[in-house]
């Protein structure tokens, strides 16, 4: 039983294209996140949604648009892909305001823009 799943796991595309990454969690959590891990392995939060409501948006270009159709899903759509968007994108979930605030991560999506 996969707790947090992401599709696809690998995505290779050309500059200028539009792509989406999907995330689903079956843990019953109310908060979901997108993190970006760059080539130096540095992880940084991009977005956070709580019960379908955007609560964190960390200086991410407008080309990135998260969408949460329900609290079990958080998708990431990227317009006009650039070389610098190449990275591993992780989805995570947690139960907000509930100790100990552990976040469960998906397997990551490696995006390569050529």
């Amino acid at each position: 039983d996969t707790a947090v799943s992401q599709t696809p796991k690998y995505l290779v595309t050309q500059m200028g294209n539009d792509k989406s990454i999907k995330c689903e969690q079956n843990l019953g959590h109310d908060t979901m996140y997108w993190y970006k891990q760059d080539s130096k392995k540095f992880l940084k939060i991009m977005f956070s949604y709580n019960n379908k409501e955007l609560i964190i948006n960390e200086t991410v270009p407008n080309r990135f648009s998260p969408k949460s159709p329900d609290k079990a899903h958080l998708n990431l759509h990227i317009n006009s892909l650039e070389l610098g968007d190449s990275a591993v994108y992780f989805c995570a979930s947690s139960q907000a305001r509930s100790l100990p605030y552990e976040q469960y991560f998906g397997p990551g999506t490696r995006l390569t823009v050529t």
């Binding site: 996140y33 956070s48 995570a92 305001r97 100990p100 991560f105 990551g108």
Partner: protein, 115 residues
Amino acid sequence: AQTVTQSQPEMSVQEAETVTLSCTYDTSESNYYLFWYKQPPSRQMILVIRQEAYKQQNATENRFSVNFQKAAKSFSLKISDSQLGDTAMYFCAFAWGSSGDKLTFGTGTRLAVRP
């Protein structure tokens, strides 16, 4: 702003020996949580251990333990009886506040366990 610093980019340890990974953080918050995550070559992020700042007792999970020094803002991870499967990137992370949202990560330490 909260920051997390891992000063050891890479470390190496012989199998069965003990290794300590360092982490320091900076915050003005009093209610916060600290974590160590492991990322093996499979890329999966795995929670190794957590520590609530209000707890004085150091957390322990089997071969993994922390040395939490709140006044010094230090949170090191000790791995005892290192195993080949411990080879991975280790990230120290910080979360704070009543919601605990948003993990702030350190830059990671790459640990290699030698046979």
